[in-house]
Amino acid sequence: MVVKPLTGNYAAAYAAKLSRVKVVAAYPITPQTTIVEKLAQFIEDGEMDAKMIRVESEHSALAAAYGAASGGVRAYTATSSQGLLYMHEMVWWVAGSRIPLVMTIVTRTLGPPWNIWTDHSDIMDQRDSGWLIMMAEHNQEVLDETIKMFKITEDPRVFLPGIVGLDAFILSHTTEPVDIPDQELVDTFLPPRRQPYVFKPGDSLLMGNVPRNLKENMRMREDIHNSLEAAKKVIEEVDEEWGKLTGRRYGGLIECYRCEDASHFIVGMGAWVGDMREAVDSLRTNGIKVGLIKVRYVRPFPREDILKWVVNAKSVIVFDRSVSAGSAGPLFLDVAAHLMAAGIRVPVKNILAGITGLDVTYEDIADAVLKSVAEVEETGKFSRFIEWYYGR
């Protein structure tokens, strides 16, 4: 083990190397670019025994990674924003094929106008596709979760692809000390690749031809859903195993901060969870009993974990860094739907902030939460369920 100052992007690149990825296929896009550059350097310097397919587009990046993974080797790609939307067709195809592979998404807003700053519009646009999707809070988590994601996605109970997300610049280009585990440790942790099938010459295998029976086809979609549900246990097991090896446990699908005696809960995911922790501390010094639920995995959605904490809460405030225009923030929609379905009647509110990369400070978060809590303490409810927050 060695501690090195690493950007989030380099943490992702080191993780791919340590996971003994055999094929990398990627197309550069800001802010993902330095991942591709670093991997190209690892491979050219002989530090990483892999082939790099320097594709002409993101659509081809995921297509080539998918081809390699279907052919039986560990494959990796990374992208952002417009690039992710350009490959969106392949995103669904890979999940539908049940082919495990890992993709890093450096989250960046979508145009127009051209804008390279972070929000979660790109990653949340993939949430119905059947991939496992997680967001990291810091660079250590980027490295850890990328390695873990290979193990989780290649578990026969899962056999689906997985995304590790990190926020543009806030993580991708910011240097933090990161523990890089030894190769031997990762080799012990990560077994040889497993996958449901491999394309081999002479082995008659057809993938993806037209179905005779649409019930079977619908069952395939249900299987994806059920495997994501089953992945919850796998995520927790792998988290525990990694924790034993490295001393770093994250808590599975969510991580809680000062939740034990909390009356009001903030829900959020990604790099600004770090700011939310500070906001919680500052609100707590003002006597407000706030707890923070950090959503690590948005797919599968941590329904049980969240409900368990908020069942007796006075309010839940969900921060979204993207919006399903015409409805509400996607994280909020999930939380609200599952609260409702479980019969939990707690006032729930959506704060839409940081969209298009607008800077959000911990003071902003504390301010927005303070006002919301004040309202719910006074009236017992939120007068509006959605608030566009532009800062103080």
């Binding site: 055999k22 094929v23 296929a25 082939k51 397919i53 320097r54 594709v55 002409e56 587009s57 659509h59 081809s60 990046a61 297509a63 080539a64 990674a65 998918y66 081809g67 390699a68 993974a69 279907s70 052919g71 039986g72 080797v73 494959a75 067709e89 392949m90 195809w93 394309f199 081999k200 010459p201 002479g202 082995d203 008659s204 295998l205 057809l206 993938m207 993806g208 031809n209 037209v210 179905p211 005779r212 079977e216």
Partner: protein, 297 residues
């Protein structure tokens, strides 16, 4: 080396009772593919007629392993599969089998990318000269004057010179072929499989449904395309162009049959005027002049 019937395996890699239309040229091509490369093939198929021809899941008429993939992805997927097989030390020939749309139009950027990287795959463009699977819409490889369901009065633009565009990518092997000349196609497939890097074979595939001719005449129409000089069979190894034996006589313009013999069999050319035919004749002469120059003749 010339291929003879005796060299060909008896085992079928395309099963009978598949879902192709009567007289389907793609079914012919798929049969020849199996004969040429046997069980080394891994097929990557973008959307198109071949998505249907293989039959319904969970069954299927293909003995070769087949990945069906989105339209614009076939060469990139094939490049990935090929990389995996090389890493695992397996002897495979990875073939991307796309139509004119999957190759020259929606799939073109992917094709060009794989060619420029010299990925170790064979791309076969099965050219039936329109989007047949969606119901006969024009493509960039539809010839001038042809009726389609998006060019009711005949296409006004010329067919894109795709084999030459691929030749300009400086890949190790480019060839044209025709379902009317199976031994020539099989020999080219075998040569392509023996070469490392990117190989492109453009297979002319007359479609009875889309071209409006009798399904018993697929081979006849395919041969007439060559005999009239409308389709030129050639190959290029490391850029060196050679006219293939079936087309050699037609380097001499006087040996070519009049293009009307080809055109009159096809309902899609029903509305051609005399002026249109002159335009097509000139296109034939121009194409031959270009190829002969490239062949150093």
């Amino acid at each position: 080396m010339p291929v003879t019937l005796r060299d060909l395996p008896k085992e079928k890699l395309l099963l009978p009772g598949n879902a192709s239309c009567p007289g389907c040229p793609e079914a012919l091509g798929l049969k020849y593919l199996g004969m040429a490369l046997g069980k080394k093939v891994i097929l990557v198929v973008p959307a198109g007629c071949t998505s249907i021809i293989q039959g319904l899941m969970p069954g299927g008429a293909f003995i070769y392993p087949t990945l069906n993939v989105p339209f614009a992805s076939s060469d990139a997927v094939a490049a990935g599969v090929s990389a995996a097989k090389e890493i695992l030390g397996e002897d495979a020939v990875v073939v991307a089998w796309g139509g004119d749309g999957g190759t020259a139009d929606i799939g073109f950027a992917t094709l060009s990318g794989a060619a420029e990287r010299n990925d170790n795959i064979i791309h076969i463009c099965v050219d039936n000269e329109a989007y047949m699977n969606t119901g006969i819409q024009r493509s960039s490889l539809t010839p001038y004057g042809a009726w389609t369901t998006t060019t009711w009065r005949g296409k006004r633009e010329n067919k894109k010179e795709l084999p030459l565009i691929m030749l300009m990518h400086k890949v190790p092997y480019v060839a044209t072929a025709s379902v009317g000349y199976p031994l020539d196609f099989i020999a080219k497939l075998r040569k392509a499989a023996s070469i490392k890097g990117f190989k492109f074979i453009h297979l002319h595939a007359p479609c009875p449904v889309g071209w409006r001719f009798d399904p018993s005449k697929t081979v006849e129409v395919a041969k007439l395309a060559v005999e009239t000089g409308m389709w030129i069979l050639f190959e290029a190894e490391d850029g060196k162009v050679t006219i293939s034996p079936p087309s050699r006589p037609y380097a001499d313009k006087s040996k070519r049959k009049p293009i009307e013999e080809y055109i009159k069999l096809q309902g899609r050319f029903r509305t051609l005027t005399k002026d249109d035919i002159k335009i097509l004749e000139k296109a034939v002469d121009d194409a031959w002049n270009t190829i002969l120059k490239l062949a150093g003749k």
